[in-house]
Symmetry: C2
Subunit: 359 residues, 2 copies
């Protein structure tokens, strides 16, 4: 019996993808082996890899002058990769702090670059993003970095910041593919796979090609975008099984109707859940409505003592992964692409019952 | 129909492991989800991870004063990780060059440390390893690095070098778990998973704990052994699916009888294949017998024009992945733990037939 899995990542996958992978688990299309047993240099795997990249390009509308890399080390690896690839020692870069993940990006970047935090949402208790047009990016900054969606705080940018000639870099881990994104507005978009793309262990880096060739001499090879782009992401053995599974997820997104269809589904799911929270005097979500994440919905009950009973009862009802992040407590429902509307409806029904019994 | 897959890595997996993973593909033991969908912080996954580590410790006899890390980025990531974790800028380290992979380790280490290549097997055309007792390790070296098994050249160290008080570091990617290894002789043993451990996308680092705490300030977090050891390899989201599959492989090795049983099987497989090559005037292996790899067996035919027909005919006979590495040509059979004796016998039978028709 499958549960509805609201984990923030690794996260629920489309059942069709799991079933497809299962059907190919010991013999991929007559090759006599599973994908994870194939040489990454084999015709078969090179085809699987290229097809996944082509689907990513087509779904997101990635312009031709961008490289699409499939790397290891997650978004955390790219917290170092971004400054190591885009700056020389002594350079400065602008960062926006909207919560836990941007703070981690800042902390890692400080190892390599003079970080200028040009906006920090501490004053709002990280419940919103800076107003559009309010960011002032220093002209000397090598890039502007922001976190498109804060997985823990449930805050999402409803706009793409304008930084003039300064390249905009974003961590899109928990929102990529949830709706259309104008990649041409960015210098770099990177995203760990374990939310909307597939299993953990793979990170996609989409980088405008004119930003290649700037890497530091001492960037580790596995984080070297320029070398990886030249080697089709195979400077070393890539995470082949994860790459294949991402390809299956991309195919599934395509079959659902692409990103405009995902946008409709995700809007409906978010409206259903936020609507139920807002109509209730029992549940609350602290995020400013215009900056609410469509993917990660944190919510509170009036008495923190009810949190554990909520999570436990939900789990018994087949609703899993609803505890808030250990750093903030409360509850959180992650409703990524693979979470169907029925899953959100089941959660809302459960919340209504729980409120009746405990409100 | 499964083929016999002689790929050097990613490589053949035990069929039992693939079948087990398949049976748990949409619902791991009643959890209602696949392992790749589980939060890495969930009780279930933390249990899977701990069990894999315990099995690794037990099978290899890892002493308690060693940390066992499950990281991303492959052995290539550790080519940078080793100097970044063990040295300060300006330090020197001793390297042994026995072929392609040690040369790559040297090249990456040069970004961070003064590399002293204390032995280079160029004079033997990389057909052997330095004689036991011949290595002179400079006392100022931070560590001695060598490649336990050269996957491309098919050369394996039959002994562990003695470096006195200097920690010995080895890349054991293509030989780990193929036979017992005295971990206590090493400062660090690391191994990419995609040969004897599981799918690509995971690297195991076994490090003596007194060597932790020496990392450079600017080591990327994903390569920081000290931080990773403190976080049970979960400083960031680990490659959970690969970790689980490695655990299943370790369980399989245990069921086969552990490393002494693997040693017997692998010795028998290597003797069968090298014996067939040595008895033939048609096939040849260039490696000095005492340094022959049990895992990767390169071999040549008298006329290079016969290589493509050999590989193609073998493939039609259900023997896959026999082309030599693109950098050296020839043929290569990788006969890792998961390759059964019958696979090697089928290869030897094919080789005999091919020789009859072309010799």
């Amino acid at each position: 019996m499958r549960v509805h899995n609201f984990s923030a990542g690794p996260a629920t996958m489309p059942l069709e993808v799991l079933e497809r992978a299962r059907s190919e688990a010991t013999d991929w299309r007559g090759s006599g082996m599973s994908v994870m047993e194939m040489s990454h240099r084999s015709t078969e795997f090179v085809g699987i890899a290229a097809e996944a990249e082509a689907r990513m390009r087509s779904l997101l509308g990635v312009p031709d002058d961008y490289a699409v890399l499939f790397l290891q080390g997650g978004a955390t690896g790219q917290f170092a990769g971004v400054p190591l690839n885009l700056t020389a020692p002594g350079a400065s870069a602008a960062y926006v702090n909207t919560g836990s993940w941007s703070a981690k990006a800042v902390s890692e970047a400080r190892k390599y670059v003079d970080v200028r935090v040009i906006a920090d949402e501490k004053h709002s208790n990280y419940a919103t993003v800076p107003a559009e047009g309010s960011l002032e990016v220093p002209t000397g900054a090598a890039y502007l970095h922001y976190t498109l969606n804060e997985t823990i705080g449930g805050v999402e940018f409803p706009y793409v910041p304008d930084a003039g000639d300064v390249p905009v870099v974003t961590d899109a881990s928990s929102t990529i593919l949830s709706r259309p994104l104008d990649v041409s507005r960015f210098g770099v978009v990177y995203a760990g796979a374990q939310k909307n793309l597939g299993p953990s262990g793979l990170v996609v880096v989409i980088v405008r090609r004119d930003l290649l060739g700037r890497a530091r001499q001492d960037v580790p090879g596995i984080l070297d975008w320029t070398a990886m782009a030249a080697a089709d992401s195979m400077l070393n053995t890539p995470p082949t099984l994860a790459w294949y599974l991402v390809g299956l997820v991309l195919e599934w997104v395509e079959e659902q109707g692409g990103l405009t269809a995902m946008e409709e589904r995700n809007r409906a799911k978010a409206e259903l859940l936020y609507g139920a929270i807002d109509r209730s005097d029992f549940y609350s979500n602290p995020v400013e409505p215009s900056a609410r994440s469509w993917m990660n919905v944190p919510f509170l009950v009036p008495d923190p003592a009810l949190e554990k009973p909520f999570v436990a009862a939900a789990s018994r009802a087949g609703l899993s992964g609803l505890a808030g992040h250990r750093s903030v407590g409360g509850m959180r429902a992650s409703i990524y692409n693979a979470m169907p509307l029925e899953g959100v409806q089941a959660l809302v029904d459960f919340m209504t019952d729980f409120e009746k019994q405990n409100g």
